[in-house]
């Protein structure tokens, strides 16, 4: 596929992503803009609001499977979570526990807490975290799709990693603190936020996929995200929360920290993972990278 024929997920709005993710015509929005209100907290600061408060929620189908979706709009306030935005996501996850769709799909495109309503946003993210875990404990897979211009950062980076699985594109970024924040606090020698290649080697989709932090890597293409989500859902069995899985994850994380804890660049990690020519990783296409990962020693 050439770049020119792709329908970029990265550049699309939340509504365009939903339209392309779900079966044609199946989306039904919950609390559409006409039934909602912009954030009064932003109005108090003389900032423009949005009637959907930067997140579009509803239900629809992916290859005939009923799903609930929440799509953050990165082009409004960086997709950041405020009081209304967060409450819509929590309400959707709680509704899913009652109605039991096949899955909840979170289209994450967010820097995390909306600073203009920081306390409300932080508590809302905590509520989303609890609601995601409640949905999963009720047997519902919660799938995160990460490929928007704002990535999945801050509290939304934590939420993404609480999901059953993450589908990410090469352009997608997943981390906790943004490189700009680290540069501001710790200095440019710690993290040069303007070095885009470095930022992608540390937080980008290929790195997260190679390390196993994301289940699937897809092209920056709306149909590719749809296919990736559909493929995951078709095979997914949500396990009951139990100590065995968390013990296994604890060991994996401890081993990884012991092995790679001193590294500061994806190139070092990829070499240690057994990639013969790590310097080629940034330039190879998606299919080649997936083949490369599948050939790595386990």
């Amino acid at each position: 596929m050439t770049r020119s024929t792709r329908k970029s997920w990265f550049e699309a709005t939340a509504r365009t992503r939903i339209a392309g993710l779900l079966d044609a015509g199946s989306f039904c929005e919950i609390m559409p803009p006409a039934e909602s209100q912009p954030s009064p907290h932003l109005a108090q600061l003389d900032l423009p609001g949005a009637f959907d408060d930067g997140v579009v929620i509803g239900c629809g189908q992916i290859e005939k499977r009923p799903v609930f979706v929440a799509a953050q709009e990165g082009q409004f306030m960086g997709g950041a979570v405020g009081e209304i935005h967060g409450a819509k996501m929590v309400g959707l996850l709680r509704r899913a526990v009652e109605e039991k769709p096949a899955a909840v799909v979170l289209l994450i495109d967010s820097g995390g807490v909306r600073l203009h309503e920081a306390n409300a946003g932080l508590i809302a993210i905590s509520e989303i975290m609890r609601a995601v875990l409640d949905a999963r404990a009720a047997g519902l897979p919660v799938i995160a799709l990460v490929g928007g211009s704002c990535g999945a950062f801050g509290g939304m980076g934590i939420v993404a990693k609480l999901c059953s699985a993450i589908v990410i594109s090469e352009e997608g970024r997943l981390a906790l603190s943004g490189p700009e924040v680290i540069e501001t606090v710790a200095g440019v020698e710690e993290f040069d936020a303007r070095d885009r290649a470095l930022v992608w080697r540390v937080t980008g989709g290929k790195h997260r996929y190679l390390m196993g932090d994301c289940a699937a890597l897809v092209e920056d293409d709306i149909p590719a995200f749809r296919a990736g989500a559909a493929e995951l859902l078709a095979a997914w069995r949500e396990p009951e929360p139990g100590i065995a899985q968390l013990r296994a994850r604890q060991k994996m994380l401890e081993d990884r920290l012991a092995a790679y804890g001193d590294f500061r660049d994806g190139l070092q990690v990829w070499a240690a993972l057994g990639v013969a020519q790590p310097e080629t990783v940034p330039s190879i296409d998606r299919d080649s990278l997936v083949a490369l990962k599948e050939g790595l020693p386990t």
Binding site: I30, M31, P40, H41, L45, I57, C59, E83, I84, G86, A87, V90, G91, L92, R94, V113, L115, H116, E117, A118, N119, A120, G121, L122, I123, A124, S126, E127, A131, L133, A137, I158, V159, A160, K161, L162, L174, A175, L176, S177, I182, V185, A186, F191, V202, T203, H207, P241, G242, I243, L246, R247, Q250, L253, E254, L257, G261, F263, R264, G266
Partner: protein
Amino acid sequence: MNLNDILDSLFPTGHTVSLVNHVITGEAMTAQGKVAVLGTTDAAAIDHAMALALSGFILDTVEKHPGRPLIFMVDTSGQALSRSQELLCLNGSLAHLASCVDLARRQGHRSLSLVTANAVSGGFLSFGLMTDCTYALSDAQVRVMDLRAMSRVTKIAHERLVALAGNSPTFAPGAENYVRMGGIEAIWPAPSAALLERALASVACPPDDRRMQKALERGGRNMAADIAARVQNAKVGT
């Protein structure tokens, strides 16, 4: 107030707690029996090692001491800010820690946290805000970001933020604001065994997340509960 004084006040009949790399783990006696004591101190910036030390201790407690309550001491300045930490997906280790607190709850362990000094963003999210109930000492600092940094990021004048902070609990730092917003149950004037016992006894079973309702009752977040309920009850065309 130093950690030992706080622990002596909370657990006058005894505690055995070790402190390694800013991480507290141990146990203490209360009138309701033994409790696990864990958390962080000295405004710890939470990194992979600290998150995994806490999550490992929670898993040990779930395995060896079924039902033993978990009492978290929270003193964190947020997450560690470094490239090597992000390289290994720090949000993943914090999510793992949050999952362990959540698993303990599902396995019947009551949990509560006490903010002893600082509670900031990612560090607070990963364990302090994951427990059944969160409390704070009266001089605790609770925030996402201080107002000067917030002014820089949002490009809103600092004086304006200070003026608005006086009457809005929504963005200004402060434990009282988190009480009004439902994130903190109550502020304790001083650490006290009686307050701890009462808090532990008051944990509802099953412990639902009622922070939105509390925020509404306290006039902190006036919209969240209504919006979540409207989303849950909205009629959706077939």
